[in-house]
């Protein structure tokens, strides 16, 4: 702070509090809607005071789901967790080894491979959706965890991030390892992996959220309720049927549960989250 300006300080806090309140408002209303009965939700305008039905609504959604999608939330949360973990860990694993190869070896086609990985940055799943679906269907991976996760595992950003980081590891370490007779894999496990832990943690937070929040891809590769993730489960709950048939109190309970894991990850691992966001954009 450069100088004292009490009025400006007041305005500062007022604006920030207003921002926080407006941003939190939709989630607050969602929370309230998840604690009252279906009839109370339909009474326009809905109350803004939480009701007493929190436990029974969450239990109902957790065990039986809601509306047109009969998949219980526990199944969908499990599917989301599996896909988010497989996508996050898979991305980190394959990017780590490919970046290691590209930085620590000289081999024919090295730069060609690097550019091949780079170009994938330019092909988001949204723009090549139909042919990708066709390939996954030809490999008979529809309605499976492999189909949900594998196509999303390749990651140019993670490969870049690790490459950047490896380039900052002092050459002396590799030299010392070679003089001591350590092979490349020994060097990888004993030096590179332990040094990369911070980058891995940062990437994990970002990729876990990315995996948990996937929408378009699970929407088209899953037709059986057993494989729905919670994000598309919510969409199925409100799709089809008339306005009145949507069980909003259960949908909102599901939405609260769907938001919880990634929000907890962001808040508890905030330092790594910020680092991950900033690093992946370099």
């Amino acid at each position: 702070m450069v100088e004292r300006r009490p009025l400006l300080d007041f305005i500062t806090h007022a604006v920030l509090l207003l921002g926080v309140a407006v941003i939190a408002f939709p989630v607050y209303v969602t929370f309230v809607a998840s604690t009252i009965t279906a009839e109370e939700v339909l009474a326009a305008p809905m109350t803004l005071v939480p009701g007493p039905h929190l436990l029974e609504n969450y239990k109902e959604a957790w065990l039986h789901g809601a509306g047109n999608s009969a998949a219980p939330v526990r199944t969908m949360m499990f599917n989301s967790l599996v896909s988010a973990l497989v996508i996050a860990i898979g991305k980190i694993a394959i990017s780590l080894v490919s970046a290691f190869a590209i930085v620590y070896f000289r081999f024919p086609l090295r730069m060609f491979f690097f550019w091949m990985i780079f170009v994938t940055l330019m092909l988001p799943v949204e723009v090549r959706i139909l042919p990708t679906y066709k390939i996954v269907s030809d490999l008979s991976m529809l309605d499976s965890y492999a189909g949900l996760t594998l196509p999303l595992i390749a990651s140019a950003t993670a490969t870049f991030l690790f490459r950047q980081f490896f380039l900052t590891i002092p050459d002396e370490l590799a030299e010392a390892a070679r003089i001591d007779g350590a092979g490349p894999m020994r060097f990888f496990w004993d030096v590179v992996v332990p040094m990369s832990k911070t980058s891995m943690a940062a990437l994990f937070v970002i990729q876990f959220i990315y995996g948990w929040n996937q929408y378009l891809w699970p929407l088209i590769v899953t037709t059986q309720e057993d494989y729905y993730t919670v994000v598309i489960g919510i969409k199925r709950m409100i799709a089809g049927g008339g306005e009145a048939s949507v069980e909003w109190h259960l949908v909102m309970a599901t939405a609260m549960m769907a938001m919880l894991p990634p929000a907890v990850v962001v808040i508890l691992m905030q330092k790594w989250f910020v680092k991950g966001l900033v690093d992946t954009e370099k």
Partner: protein, 293 residues
Amino acid sequence: MEKRVVFRSRWLPYLLVAPQLAITIVFFFLPAGQAIWQSLLQEDPFGTSTEFIGLENFATLFADEHYLASFRVTAIFSVLVAGFGLAISLVLAVFADRVVRGAGVYKTLLIWPYAVAHAVAAVLWLFLFNPTLGVVAHWIKGLGIGWDPLLDGNDAMVLVVVAAVWNQISYNFLFFLAGLQSIPKSLIEAAAIDGAGPGRRFWTIVFPLLSPTTFFLLVVNIVFAFFNTFAIIDAATGGGPGQATEILVYKVYKDGFKALDLGSSAAQSVVLMAIVIGLTVLQFKWIERKVQY
């Protein structure tokens, strides 16, 4: 930049890049190639007859007023999302940068919407804006303004823009805050000593120094509005009413999966790929000046 010390092995590097390359080839290059090839063909929905027709799909596409309308919708949507998203988060970041005590608390309270899935954000706002039971819709009607995003195209656009901006604010906020904190305090202090007030300091020093961040965020937000908002559109409006919120990525999906017009959908994919490549090049042009590889 290259490593001076490297390891030697004939086969090991290939083995290490193999998983990444296999997935890249199977799920990126094959589909992209197929989209390009398919965009030159005319096929009926059952795949019984296929005919090579050159660039005819593209010609049809650009003569199709629905496609051109979708371009307009995408342009309006991304300008609104990027404009409001950047403006609101810049205001919040500038004020958060002023706070001495409690800055961390504000930061935590402002960044969590990033964790909310786009589709979930869309459902939350859909609920608030629902013409019969939404709380916000009720307030709007209380002001005597007609409101029905299911029937009115402009209302539907407001709904998806609000949901998208809400979802993106935390990202913009974090980058603006980091940008603000990297501006040397001595510059600001010097200006203050010369008698420049906070408003003057912002417009003549802070805002110009922040321009690389602003430009970077502008590109990121446009990419976000173009490609990542599919979930918001699908969950909130389904592109409707009519075509009012049908952005380009939604149209690719709708024409391919619902109308089964494969040739047109593939041609649209190719057009979108060209747009992404253009935007990515733009983004990397910016990064080149800042980061040394």
